[in-house]
């Protein structure tokens, strides 16, 4: 902001760093310069918004001693779910899981689309900022694979009887309709997610988050294939 720097030390003024005399000089300038005045006012507005945030807003992670609270919440959700089943809910929840658990990079979808083929619309264009991923779960296995220009790195995060999969995939041409598949040791194939490779994802790779109903110990590999069954890459566990 060369212009304003020439006018006055706005950075020092907004930061509250100036001596009274320097501040006075800036204020004298602001009184006559609309440009700088508007600038300072709008930056001060940002400062106020920041100041109005509750300090707790920056805390990360689960609360200490919160296990019972989590269990209570899950119980309530389960019992409410039982009384209001319906697959439309699944699609919406799956979409939210994606947005909550992920949201970086290009279009990212999770969940098999079932009979309808309707992918959950996770709002590729309107993503809330990405929360951190769950890298710290004990027992998480990271597997990698590559083949003909395609690379796959997947974290297999254990859950009780199932796994979460966080995969980075690069090198797949744009336009491909892909699936992330978790293959069990018994040969079972569970689709953990599907997506359409965008131009951006083709260039820069995509991050995908899914889940599969395969016990953590039974995961044999993670595979990326297209909907015609062509396998791009496989990462063995």
């Amino acid at each position: 902001m060369g212009m304003n720097d020439e006018h006055a030390d706005l950075a020092g003024y907004v930061a509250g760093e100036l001596s009274p005399r320097e501040a006075q000089a800036v204020e004298a300038h602001l009184a006559t310069c609309v440009e700088c005045r508007t600038e300072v006012e709008s930056l001060n507005e940002m400062r106020e918004f920041l100041g109005a945030l509750p300090p707790e807003a920056l805390l990360e992670g689960p609360p200490e001693g919160g296990d019972l609270l989590l269990q209570r919440t899950l119980r309530q959700v389960r019992s409410e779910a039982r009384s209001s089943a319906g697959r439309s809910r699944f699609v919406a929840v799956a979409a939210a899981v994606v947005v909550v658990a992920a949201a970086l990079g290009g279009g990212v979808l999770v969940g098999r689309s079932g009979s309808s083929g309707a992918a959950p619309e996770a709002g590729a264009g309107q993503q809330p900022p990405a929360p951190a991923t769950s890298s710290a779960v004990p027992g998480t296995k990271v597997v990698t694979g590559s083949g003909s220009g395609t690379r796959l790195t997947a974290s297999i995060v254990p859950a009780a009887g199932w796994v979460r999969v966080e995969a980075s995939v690069s090198g797949i041409p744009a336009g491909q309709k892909c699936r992330l598949v978790v293959v069990g040791k018994n040969g079972d194939r569970e689709i953990a997610g599907g997506w359409l490779v965008s131009e951006k994802a083709s260039r820069e790779g995509a991050k995908l988050y899914g889940s599969a109903l395969v016990a953590p110990a039974d995961v044999a590999s993670v595979v990326v294939e297209n909907t015609d069954g062509h396998e791009f890459v496989q990462a063995n566990a």
């Binding site: 760093e17 609270l69 989590l70 779910a81 929840v93 889940s211």
Partner: protein
């Protein structure tokens, strides 16, 4: 597709959503609610209800104005207000008590704006974000922030300025998106 399988899948998705929200935002939600209510057990009820609402309205996590965390904290706040109101209504059904007013006063556009800012903060570079957090959330001076972050005061000053400018930009975009 077998009904049982769909049911199971549904439960897995439900559980995954609630767990990931809890693991990511639980601490912030509970700490916030506890401070406002001054009572951990009442605060836990609020957090539980907020998480259940998130699960019931997953679309608000996708289309919500501001960040997921902003949405959750706003719900926490609204639930706290309801609780305080109910508590205050019990002894006397008359006018608003000072507590209600205190909680409610800034429950307004500014809260929403702050939540949008929270989400905009996430879009900043870490250099900008850490300086803004130190100075404008924790209320530290340039010198204190410089010491805390181990960088020269001059750098803090310029980052605080360019950080605010970048934030303003992101904020404008997010607000426009949220309204759309």
């Amino acid at each position: 597709m077998a009904g049982l399988r769909t049911r199971h899948r549904q439960e897995v998705a439900d559980e995954a959503l609630v767990r990931s929200l809890f693991e990511e935002h639980g601490k912030a939600m509970l700490a916030y609610a506890t401070r406002l209510l001054g009572d951990r057990s009442a605060a836990e009820d609020v957090v539980q209800e907020a998480l259940v609402r998130a699960w019931r309205n997953p679309e608000s996590l996708v289309n919500g104005k501001g960040s997921v965390r902003g949405w959750l904290l706003t719900v926490v706040r609204n639930l706290v207000i309801d609780k305080v109101r109910a508590r205050d209504a019990r002894p006397a059904e008359v006018a608003e008590s000072p507590t209600t007013v205190a909680v409610e006063r800034d429950h307004s556009d500014q809260v929403v704006d702050s939540m949008v800012v929270l989400s905009a903060l996430d879009g900043l570079s870490s250099e900008h974000r850490e300086v803004l957090e130190q100075m404008y959330l924790h209320g530290r001076t340039v010198t204190e922030a410089a010491e805390k972050l181990g960088i020269p005061p001059g750098t803090v000053k310029s980052r605080s300025y360019y950080g605010l400018r970048a934030l303003r930009e992101l904020f404008g975009n997010q607000r426009a998106e949220g309204v759309a």
